[in-house]
């Protein structure tokens, strides 16, 4: 019987079996940011330990950074303090830091791939659950807590259990106007937000194989929202074409050796999976969430589902969702008024995400509805620079969007970008939990970037395919 990529990578990185029955796993890449690392460094220093492999740890600042102006010191003194702590830690421990003042900063899950740090066959961890994103390259990548950040700093290893592997196959041609975001929301809707608990998701099938790396990252980013600890896609030519020439990617004679190794970690054709689930690309429509978990979604052409559509044990949280979101079962998804539109985050803050929107806005005179505040927040300073050089900032501002500096921004609103009161936000991010976007009563509707743009212009949730004439 063959082995999956997960099996191969897990086994190659296993240092020991611990008395607890867990495995001690070596980490190939450790990414850190300002929110979950300061306490880990304090614990490390209290123990009198140093960083074992400083050259395998990379730092950035993303969650707290303001997107209106990044001039120092930040007006928010708590945010400033966190950044000062990070700067102290990286300089004391000789860790490579992607600094804003050098134009390198960005969301941790955007800059890893962008700089070629994220590579197939690696184990990758970060004190952030959306580390799953890096699985798009055929890496085993997962989020960890702060005590584990300390462990990785001290030992480059973690104590972990072994996951089961579910193969999620998506085959067929996506219809016009359907994006990777719709695919990933659709999968979570079908398998449930707890469906993946105890699993690694391997995404496969010809639909996935045809996707660009940006699209694959959107898919893997939300594996965690389906309950899976990580998600991955086997590396192929698309992966290698993306990586070639990036700063930290192997070069010259090393490149061929690397590709050979990367090919060897792909899942074998006869690999054994715990189970396999198949979906048809043709069945997927633009998805919009109506509730308070990423699984509570429906096609834009559909309605808020009835209570009877859910299992008995889910009904309580569905009722809670109706109430919090102020939606009624049977109400059409399209037509819900919005106040804020947000395009960005580690799910959809990469160049191609903005390109999808620019391509429909360009040369048209669409305008953001007067009652809507619309934010465009690049996932990294590199993405932003590239957008500027292509003149996309002007396309957005001409249509009434605010073009901001890079960061996590309104994805979780740890910086000044926040909803107020019970505002409704159309958002390209990944979580619609209660209070997620900064107001305890704020409401989030997750959707793809073009669906967010369409909602911004219409002032309400609307089918982007109709508004933009996508056929």
């Amino acid at each position: 019987m063959g082995r999956t990529l997960y099996d191969k990578v897990f086994e190659a990185h296993t240092v020991a079996r611990l008395p607890s029955g867990q495995y001690q796993l070596l980490m190939g890449l450790h990414l850190i940011h300002e929110v979950t690392s300061p306490q880990a460094f304090s614990m490390l220093e209290e123990l009198g330990l140093s960083v074992l492999f400083p050259e395998r740890t990379f730092a950035t600042v993303d969650h707290i950074i303001p997107t209106a102006s990044q001039l120092r010191p930040f007006r928010d003194t708590l945010a400033e303090q966190m950044l000062v702590a990070l700067e102290g830690n990286v300089s004391r421990h000789k860790i490579r830091y992607f600094a804003p003042e050098r134009g390198e900063q960005g969301i941790v899950h955007v800059i890893g791939p962008e700089n070629g740090l994220t590579q197939p066959g690696m184990t990758i961890c970060c004190g952030d659950s959306h580390t799953a994103t890096h699985g798009a390259f055929g890496a085993i990548a997962f989020g960890i807590g702060t005590s584990q950040v300390r462990d990785v700093l001290a030992t480059q290893t973690l104590s972990m259990g072994r996951l089961k592997v579910r193969r999620i196959e998506i085959n067929g041609q996506l219809r016009a106007g359907i994006t990777a975001k719709d695919v990933t929301l659709y999968v979570i809707n079908r398998l449930g937000v707890n469906g993946g608990v105890g699993y690694a998701y391997e995404y496969a099938g010809d639909t996935i194989e045809r996707m660009s790396m940006d699209e694959r990252m959107t898919i893997c980013n939300m594996a965690i929202e389906g309950g899976a600890r990580c998600g991955y896609i086997n590396p192929d030519q698309t992966t290698y074409d993306y990586l070639k020439g990036r700063t930290y990617a192997p070069a010259n004679d090393k490149w061929d050796r690397a590709v050979e190794y990367w090919n060897s970690v792909r899942s074998d054709p006869d690999a054994a999976y715990a189970d396999t689930v198949k979906f048809r690309a043709e069945d997927i429509e633009p998805m919009v969430t109506w509730g308070i978990t990423p699984g509570q979604s429906a096609p834009v052409t559909g309605q808020v589902p009835a209570i009877a559509d859910f299992q008995v044990d889910e009904q309580e949280s569905v009722k809670e969702a109706y109430q919090y979101m102020a939606v009624k079962p049977g109400a059409p998804i399209a037509g819900q008024k919005i106040n804020v539109a947000f395009i960005g985050s580690c799910t959809n803050g990469r160049l191609s995400d903005f390109e999808s929107v620019v391509s429909v806005l360009k040369d048209k005179s669409y305008k953001v509805a007067p009652h809507v505040q619309a934010l465009v927040v690049p996932g990294s300073m590199k993405v932003k620079d590239e957008m500027l050089s292509r003149g996309w900032d002007k396309v957005f501002t001409a249509a009434g969007f605010e073009f901001r500096e890079a960061g996590c921004s309104m994805c979780l609103a740890m910086n000044p970008d926040k909803l107020t009161g019970n505002q409704v936000s159309a958002s390209s991010s990944n979580r619609n939990f209660k209070g997620r976007q900064g107001s305890p009563t704020g409401r989030t509707l997750l959707m793809s970037p073009i669906m967010v743009a369409a909602a911004a212009i219409a002032g309400e949730v609307t089918d982007a395919r109709q508004l933009f004439g996508i056929v």
Binding site: A12, M82, Q119, G143, G145, D151, V197, P250, F433, P440
Partner: protein, 204 residues
């Protein structure tokens, strides 16, 4: 290290009903703007508490009858969402400090984070959980005893079998839930594993 052992954990219970309670609700993101974990305790469930208050209801974490509780009782998929350890750190620091969590199921990362803080998350089936919650709601002063050794939970005259993985159970019983030292003990094996991986060795 005697005090690191987690053999039995006893205290009053606090009932927090609801499935899929995520870490953003346990500790709202604005409280993550800090470089220490101190002071998080009082902000546990702050937004949920405020919202209920507004509608004239009382959140369990504000309910005087649960004051002083040390054993938290929850339902399904508790602690889902973000990997941030601020959530268990806040729970650990709330009131007298929560020492153990009993629930129908826990999100994986949250569970692991709790282990590294020495807080056992033990599992009870849905029917028993309902009975236990009802008991504590009507008699909040009852003492709950979570016995990691015998895998039992006792309250009043009743006893419920709890589920806890063997590995984690051993870690708690032996006081080895603080992993750093254990991992570091294998330093040679760590270096040897790194030596075998081509990408750790510049593809040579």
């Amino acid at each position: 290290m005697q005090d690191a052992k987690r053999i039995t954990l006893s205290g009053q219970g606090i009932v927090l009903r609801g499935n899929d309670i995520d870490t953003d609700r346990i500790i709202p993101a604005r409280y993550l703007r800090t470089v220490v974990f101190d002071g998080l305790g009082e902000h546990t469930f702050e937004d949920d508490r405020a919202q209920l208050k507004q509608s004239g209801q009382v959140h369990s974490f504000d309910d005087p009858k649960f004051k002083g509780a040390e054993i938290l009782l929850v339902n399904r998929n508790f602690g889902c969402g973000s990997s941030r350890e601020h959530a268990p750190q806040a729970i650990k620091r709330w009131g007298n400090g929560i020492k153990a969590i009993v629930g129908e199921s826990f999100a994986e990362i949250f569970f692991g984070n709790c282990v590294s803080l020495g807080i056992p998350c033990v599992v009870l089936d849905a029917a028993s959980m309902e009975r236990l919650m009802a008991t504590i709601e009507s008699e909040p002063k009852s003492k709950i005893k979570v016995d990691i050794q015998t895998k039992n939970l006792e309250v009043g005259g009743s006893s419920f079998p709890i589920v806890i993985g063997d590995g984690v159970r051993q870690q708690f019983l032996e006081g080895r839930w603080d992993t750093t030292a254990e991992l570091l003990a294998n330093k040679e094996a760590i270096l040897a594993t790194a030596k075998k991986l081509p990408y750790f060795n510049s593809w040579s």
